[in-house]
Symmetry: C2
Subunit: 306 residues, 2 copies
């Protein structure tokens, strides 16, 4: 694989905690990887690890066979690919764009139409798994797109993902799966924060609550993963509050457009919005617990300094 | 153990799906078990399995060393034990009452005071795990009470529980842990129902959604356990909607009494109330999905006939 991969140029746009790890996994698989990030110092760090740092998206895209876009929003993805006609035109003929940001399914479909109009392939490919798994090449990828597009991207998927789900042959299906996941994930984080502070209000030892409830029917992946941040008083962002104001916001948009009420997700969104409003937008999403505690005058374990 | 246990008479009050299994586990451990249920035919079924069926709570309690009360509410528990002075007086001197219903911590503390005033021991012992584990003697029990009371009940706990958590030496602590678990469990069921119907609205294959999301960060114990009921169209009550209108109702009561807002649990409660209002109170708690589907005109898999 490595010999073949070396001949393929990959551009990774967005070297945040997820994108950086994904770019590292692609390098490890033998691809020639050019990365771009709006923060030049991150590009420099990537260059120090045998990556190539580009000074602009255009430079990264030039000649690329595979373009992995791992920015935060649909709008940023559109800017990277379509801000001017020169961007996609600079990629290799019949290049494939792998779009990883969480976005509304309609936005994924719109982007696909625009990319295909420029003669390039498009794969809707949201990801799940966090930065550690990104760096290990062990992400979950929720992929949909035309079979030829998916096949063109497959060597890159194999380098980045431990679980690759090909969910359908149209863009938007991957985005839909991801947004359903985010509904559950966001509600579960808010519920974990509500439950653990409610337990504190009842006078319980919240460390013991964590121990007992992770082994019970009340457990969730998020309860198990996020409550330790609260127990450690460590709100450095592994995933930030503003990710969930965005993702639950997409659900709220779809909810209104499609006339489908989502009262549980809506309550969770309000809690993330309140937490962001209280100054914690860029802190760890478990900060919703700090909001409940602040409102009610509860003492949670002291915050760690960075 | 069996030889010792045979000398101890246990009363089990309430032979519903949980109580019946617990009584079976106690029989298997060698205890002499007398059971009572308000439905005489259930008592007869218990007698057919080598249990003793009592015609009244008083008959069951007479001479009992250990009394396991596994009814639904605090009020029912109070009736069983305290409807008249003769009930507790009929038990063996220094008998222990093991109270398993999910109730507000304050109610558990009140019951303990009343039982202790009658010279008997009280253990606050809510349970988790479902009817299959009850029959296997493999429940999780969230126990608190005076050490002497807990020790007196221990042989029975060992027969009924795979995981026995002794959480403190005062009644009310077990109840508090259970109610925090129910907050999470109730929210996770409502979220699972919202998410799976939202997925249906997005046009996704909901069987595939179940497969993908159980392996993702959006998973919860309840999502994994309840969504198969929806996929099978099988709403026979393993645990009924009205259990969660009750348990989330206890949380709503505490929320107001303690001035601690629980907006996520409150949204979930409203969904269970709507599902009950629409005629599904005694159906499986996954029926919340049917409510979302009915409201929005979605087709879920056809319901199974009993």
């Amino acid at each position: 694989m490595t010999a073949t991969n070396a001949a393929r140029k990959i551009a990774v746009i967005g070297l945040g905690s997820m994108g950086f790890g994904m770019a590292q996994s692609l390098l490890r698989a033998g691809f020639a990887v050019t990365g771009f990030d709006t923060q030049p110092e991150i590009g420099a760090r990537f260059a120090a690890q045998n990556g190539i740092a580009a000074a602009s998206p255009l430079e990264a895209l030039s000649g690329a066979d595979i373009v992995v876009v791992i920015v935060v929003t649909a709008e940023q993805t559109k800017q990277v690919l379509l801000a001017d006609d020169g961007l996609l035109a600079a990629t290799a003929p019949s290049a494939v764009v792998i779009s990883c940001a969480t976005m509304a399914p309609d936005r994924a479909r719109e982007l696909a139409v625009a990319v295909e109009a420029a003669g390039r392939h498009y794969v809707d490919a949201p990801i799940s798994g966090g930065s550690i798994r990104a760096a290990e090449g062990a992400l979950t990828m929720l992929v949909s797109g035309k079979p030829a597009a998916v096949e063109k991207g497959r060597p890159a998927f194999e380098a980045m993902a431990a679980k690759l789900y090909v969910l359908g042959d149209e863009p938007g299906i991957g985005a839909s799966f991801k947004i359903v996941n985010q509904l559950l994930a966001g509600v579960h984080i808010a519920a974990a924060c509500e439950a653990i502070t409610f337990a504190k209000k009842l006078g319980l030892d919240i460390g013991k609550v964590y121990e007992v409830l992770t082994g019970s029917a009340g457990n969730s992946w998020m309860f198990e993963n996020r409550v330790p941040h609260i127990l450690d008083g460590d709100y450095r962002p592994r995933s930030a509050v503003e990710i969930f104001t965005k993702d639950l916001g997409i659900i709220a948009d779809i909810s209104r457009t499609e006339k489908f009420a989502t009262p549980i997700a809506s309550s969770a969104l309000q809690m993330f919005l309140m937490t962001a409003a209280a100054g914690m937008a860029k802190d760890d999403d478990s900060s919703v617990a700090r909001l409940y505690a602040q409102i009610s005058g509860l003492d949670l374990p002291a915050m760690k300094k960075d």
